[in-house]
């Protein structure tokens, strides 16, 4: 397919505040849990959520006649309905976890990932014709991989202290090259953040990463105050727990632009308009309490191979 007719662009999400993309009601002790993948149980943000907020950012929500009036909006996001419905050409994938921030005794927090997460990232980047171009190292049992000069290590015993776990570390060159590569993709224009990212980057054994992805998210207890009495509302103010992805979480996904059926509009026009640059945007629920502030950066491969 020529570049005029279809296009794939990777995007990165960097959480500036906690993100609550929920599933409704939970069955466990958390009343409002976040979305998780069924098999890996890792947190993710559904593609439909990302599409929704991008459409809203460009005032192209599927409401009123916003899309009917504007051909590009219609071509990009589609129109629902029984008679004149048309599918949008922009297809957003789910955003998958890349690095989960975990509280660290040294360095404040660690950007944690695992071999399987990185393999999944590598596959995603390949789909978008970007490439990690690095061999993915595997953390040995009970050891975590860090870079030389990591700010996470206690200097005397070379251990790392993540939440309640302390583990031995191993300095790894491959990890350093990977950290450099990911830092360049996530923070292309910010050298200071690239440095901070690399210092805090760590590859955990699979089971340790799984533990943090389940137990290391942000869980807050909430109550409702009766405005008259200034104490807990006895009727509706019950205690509930809500979960969120912590600030500094990094996720990735991609957007694919299908053949555009609207006349005189090319795929490139749609991606150039709606899937470009870096935006600060709000995503998910609980936004009035400051949650869901993210930067969403679209990144197209510079040396895109012609299909």
């Amino acid at each position: 397919m020529s570049e005029k007719n279809d296009k794939t662009i990777n995007f990165w999400i960097h959480a500036l505040s906690a993100i609550h993309v929920g599933t409704g009601k939970g069955a466990g002790y958390i009343d409002l849990p976040i979305s998780r993948e069924k098999v890996t149980n890792w947190p993710y943000i559904p593609g439909s959520t990302i599409k929704g907020v991008i459409a809203d950012y460009y005032d192209a929500s599927d409401s009123g006649d916003r899309r009917e009036k504007d051909k590009k909006k219609k071509a990009a996001f589609g129109i629902a309905g029984d008679n004149n419905s048309s599918a949008g050409s922009l297809v957003f994938t789910d955003a998958r976890i890349v690095c989960l921030p975990v509280q660290s005794l040294y360095g404040t927090f660690a950007w944690c990932t695992s071999e399987l997460v990185l393999r999944s990232l590598s596959r995603d980047l390949e789909w978008g014709k970007l490439c990690l171009e690095e061999e993915i190292p595997v953390a040995p049992e009970n050891k975590v991989l860090v870079i030389e000069g990591s700010s996470l290590i206690e200097k005397s015993n070379k251990k790392i202290y993540l939440q309640e776990l302390d583990m031995d570390t191993q300095i790894c060159e491959k990890t350093e090259r990977l950290a450099e590569k990911i830092a360049n993709l996530v923070f292309p224009d910010d050298e200071e953040w690239r440095k901070k990212f690399k210092e805090r980057f760590t590859i955990l054994p699979e089971n340790v990463f799984n533990y943090f992805s389940e137990m290391g998210t942000q869980v807050e207890a909430k109550i409702r105050i009766d405005p008259n009495t200034k104490v807990v509302d006895k009727e509706q103010g019950g205690l509930w727990y809500q979960e969120a992805l912590p600030a500094e979480t990094i996720l990735t996904g991609m957007v694919w632009c299908d053949k555009v059926y609207e006349e005189n509009i090319q795929a490139k026009e749609l991606t150039d308009k709606y899937c470009t640059g870096k935006k600060t945007i709000q995503i998910g629920g609980k936004n009035t309490t400051g949650q869901g502030r993210i930067t969403l950066s679209f990144m197209e491969a510079k040396n895109k191979k012609e299909d």
Binding site: D6, S48, E206, D258
Partner: protein, 412 residues
Amino acid sequence: MTKSPKTIKITPRDPLVARDGRPFSEGKRMKSLDWIRPSVVIGSLRTLVGKLNQKGFNKNTIKELKDISITGPFPYVNNKLYFPTPLDMVLKEEGTQNSEGEKSTYTSIHQLKPGKYNEGEGSTLPRYLSPAMLYPKEQFKPLKRPAFCSKNQMTQWLLTKDIKTSELNKLLQYNKKDGSFFNNNNVINFPKKEERIHLKICPESGSAEEGKLFSSIGLDMNIHDNNGDILPLEMLAKLDTDIPQNELFKIISKLNHIHPCGGERRLVKWNICNNLEKIWECPKEIQEAIKREKKLRMVLATPAIFENGWLPGWLTIKEEHETKCIGTIPGTEIEVQLVSVVNERWQPLSGWSYERNKPKPISRMVPAGSVYFFKITNSVSDEDIANMWLQSVCDDTQLKKDGFGLSLWGIW
């Protein structure tokens, strides 16, 4: 026929939405199939090829696209191909106790095969059909079967005449806790289903719109292996065409593209593999066994649609009092007599025709895994046996090309 088939690997990025025909919208829950229909996969692939052709969907293009046939898709995990578990395989949970009193469970396999009524017994089956009986004879509540068997395990099962002499019992270990099976990854279950609740935010109020709540379900295409590691569950299919100068088929030989498959436009990578041709061949030991034996077993690897419900159109009921059902296996000269059938309740198939821009009529399918037992009444050639492996036994030409009724063969 070109006979230059291509093997394609299909890798879903996100959970695959495999819907049935039931409507879903605000307030209604989506229902998901356990496994995607072959027609959905070949439909998406034909659309992709048509788009790559860049000449629009005219009559000739549609004809050439519809001529592209699919064998599959079958699960492909860790370089192993999997087929649906045959319905003549019956699993029983057994228990043992060691000298220290510790209890453990394992799974034994029983088989269904044609038997005879005892004196005083009977059924409403047609007279040309023998009842499928359980061997060894025992009364128990069967365990749920695993969804798919590896090609190796399927080959062993298709060569099994008498379960007592088989080594198959050792192959399965049943995990009672989560219903999964562990046996060196010779079987896998259906992908797990992931339900999502969607709502619509009103841009004016910033809150959820009243009544705009619905759910969708996707198949999470990752599975846990024996060691608890997570592996991608990919799909493998073979593509071919009967039109010698099918220009569109040439596009397939270089396919390495992204295109949606199934509902909700979830993205899938379509990638041609050039080193997996042998995976589609009939195992030698099966070819030899069929030549040697006169009892033939057919297992449906994909659901089938026949002219006469569960009975293929190429089988005819003969003689007075309907005591015989005979026919010739499609694409071969092998003449057979139907002896018995093991199947389950029919499954519905529908879809949307982009060609006619309206829904397709609902068909009733014989489920994948159904087993037909035959007796061969003439001699068979090596070529015939090789040709019938994974060929469609459906009656309609287009259904054959759409991947329905693919057949695996063995003895009984």
